[in-house]
């Protein structure tokens, strides 16, 4: 069993490496001189790829956390309205013309974080107060929150001037086309922190998947672990959404595929999800960049196009 998992993880790592090494060179042929190619690679492709890897890994990790906590593959930060909460936070930041930063981190990230935390608290509150809170209700609550926040964002957009309105719109599509090295630094501390905490709590995540009663009886302080995980994933989702918008469904598809590949033991699942998630978003971004080249479409469009059918497949499979 362990050797199987080791082999699977090795193949995921190998595939990731191939994608990481190969993707920046795709679509370079139109550049005429070697210097221009070099410049594109170093200043545009490399930061974009690094960013896509970190964002993809972070989004997948947060999806994995939610799936484990709610014991449901359909429960992710996006389906439960956390990402739209973060978007609302970021949109409000732009609309109010705020401009602050704290220890080098943009205020957008903090606003998005607060938005994410608010919506997660709301979903959690509801799921606690109804003892028989079914999957349907949980997801419907998420949908309702998403709609609600989306309409608030539209409202803000409507009130904004043209420039702000366009800035908000560009995010909501979820794009990686303009990211640079600065954006990587906006993201890295949060994703790193999230990875560290989740690795630290991998045994607890395993036990959470057995249900609250068993987890508690095995010695897990379920309430405290939940709060810690909600907090840390809000931070992570907030940071990602603040920079590149809500890139949907990555957090649902990647961890679920990894579970199928490597099983539910989080000590194996976490590294698999991080690698797979990073590589997956790079791949989607490369497709987004090439499919109607020289123009490109936002990567969020690609992930959502893949994610929609995947969601429906899960829905049918789980027979809820």
């Amino acid at each position: 069993m362990t050797s199987n998992r080791r082999a699977t993880l090795f193949f995921i790592a190998l595939a990731t490496l191939i994608i990481v090494v190969g993707s920046p060179f795709l679509g370079l042929s139109h550049a005429t001189s070697v210097e221009i190619q070099q410049h594109i690679l170093n200043e545009i492709r490399l930061p974009r790829m690094l960013f896509a890897f970190i964002a993809g890994a972070g989004l997948s990790l947060c999806g994995m956390i939610f799936q484990a906590m709610f014991r449901n593959p359909l429960a992710t930060p996006f389906t439960l309205g956390v990402a739209s909460g973060a978007s609302l936070g970021a949109a409000l930041y732009v609309f109010l013309g705020l401009s602050f930063s704290f220890i080098g981190i943009d205020g957008t990230s903090f606003s998005a974080f607060i938005g994410a935390l608010l919506s997660i608290s709301f979903v959690y509150y509801l799921s606690r107060f109804h003892s028989h809170f079914s999957t349907e209700t949980l997801l419907l609550t998420g949908v309702a929150i998403s709609f609600f926040f989306s309409s608030l964002i539209l409202f803000i957009q409507y009130l904004s001037n043209l420039t702000d309105s366009f800035r908000i719109l560009r995010w909501l599509m979820g794009s990686l086309s303009t990211v640079g090295y600065h954006d990587i630094l906006q993201l890295l501390p949060f994703v790193t922190l999230c990875v560290a905490v989740v690795l630290w709590l991998s045994r607890e995540l395993n036990l959470l998947m057995t249900g609250d009663e068993i987890a508690i009886s095995r010695g897990v302080n379920v309430q405290r672990i939940r709060y810690a995980l909600f907090f840390i994933s809000s931070l992570c989702v907030g940071a990602i959404v603040a920079v590149c918008g809500p890139i949907g469904f990555v957090g649902m598809m990647v961890p679920h595929m990894c579970r199928l590949l490597i099983g539910n033991d989080h000590r194996w699942l976490i590294p698999a999800t991080l690698l797979f998630g990073g590589a997956f978003l790079i791949l989607c971004d490369t497709i987004a960049r090439l499919i109607i080249a020289p123009a490109e479409i936002p990567v969020g469009v690609i992930t959502t196009l893949l994610g929609g059918p995947f969601f429906i497949w899960l829905l049918i499979k789980s027979k809820i």
Binding site: M1, R71, W200, L201, R203, E204, N206, L207, M209, T210, G211, D212, E213, I214, I216, S217, R218, G219, V220, N221, V222, R259, G263, N264, D265
Partner: protein, 261 residues
């Protein structure tokens, strides 16, 4: 000898509804207590309080002279383990992973699987005779097999007190008998103290050492299991008339539901 578990005037109220009122009892090392009562009598609430899922509104619970609410969840798990009802949530784990996970209370985030973990694991497998299931997926096991794994996992936790919540409900008679025998073996041969919530009156009377009968959240009777059928309480406990017979093999007194109203 001091008591293993002491429950003093335990009351639990949730949203102004009294679920348990002033329950007191104690059990010693090696006891096998069955908790009986009709649906909604407070049995599950009592179990949840012992697990630390619900906090007492008043009164206290002492395990080895330590107040339960002052222990960390890990310390509680080192004292008390738990077997849920059969057919709980889907468990997407292999048997071996699931059992090993129950060593959690003996670990920190950085500690490795050590030789005492392996000893506890192998002992639990041997006692429950579950060696042959280890590589299987939990969902592929039958209800009775799953309960044996649940018991193995609880044993692996190495706590002196084992709580079981109707461990044989939803099982067929063969598996019921098998699980009952296993619990008896743990209690008699391995010195594990047991608290079992049950609806099986005859099982409780024949196998356990003492019985706690709950009705409407209050203690109705607490005493030696052998005396329970001698009292009138058995009828009032369930609001049901019983007649009694002798078990053809053991000669023990058993209760049967009366056919006349």
């Amino acid at each position: 000898m001091s008591a293993l578990l002491e429950v003093n005037n335990l009351s639990i109220e949730i949203a102004n509804t009294t679920l348990l009122s002033s329950i007191s009892f104690q059990i010693n090392n090696g006891d096998y207590l069955c908790v009986l009562g009709s649906n909604g009598a407070g049995k599950s609430t009592l179990l949840k309080a012992l697990l630390g899922i619900i906090n007492p509104t008043s009164g206290d619970i002492l395990i080895q002279q330590q107040t339960l609410s002052q222990l960390s969840q890990k310390q509680r798990a080192q004292q008390i383990s738990y077997v849920p009802q059969a057919h709980g949530p889907q468990l997407d784990f292999t048997v071996i992973d699931f059992i090993k996970m129950s060593r959690y209370a003996h670990h920190t985030a950085l500690s490795d699987w050590a030789s005492d973990d392996q000893d506890a694991f192998e002992k639990a497998i041997a006692i429950t005779d579950t060696e042959s299931f280890l590589q299987r997926q939990m969902q592929t096991l039958s209800g009775g097999e799953q309960q044996r794994i649940m018991i193995a996992a609880a044993l692996c936790q190495q706590s002196p007190l084992l709580l079981l919540d109707e461990p044989t409900s939803f099982l067929d008679p063969h598996y019921q008998a098998e699980v009952h025998q296993l619990i008896l073996k743990l209690n008699q041969q391995h010195g594990i103290s047991v608290i079992e919530v049950s609806h099986d009156l005859n099982h409780a009377v024949q196998h356990s050492s003492s019985i706690l009968a709950l009705k409407n959240g209050a203690k109705m009777w607490f005493g030696a299991a052998s005396e329970f059928l001698e009292t009138e309480h058995v009828h009032t406990l369930y609001d049901q008339q019983f007649v009694f017979a002798k078990h053809p093999q053991t000669g023990a007194k058993i209760a049967l539901v009366s056919e006349t109203l």
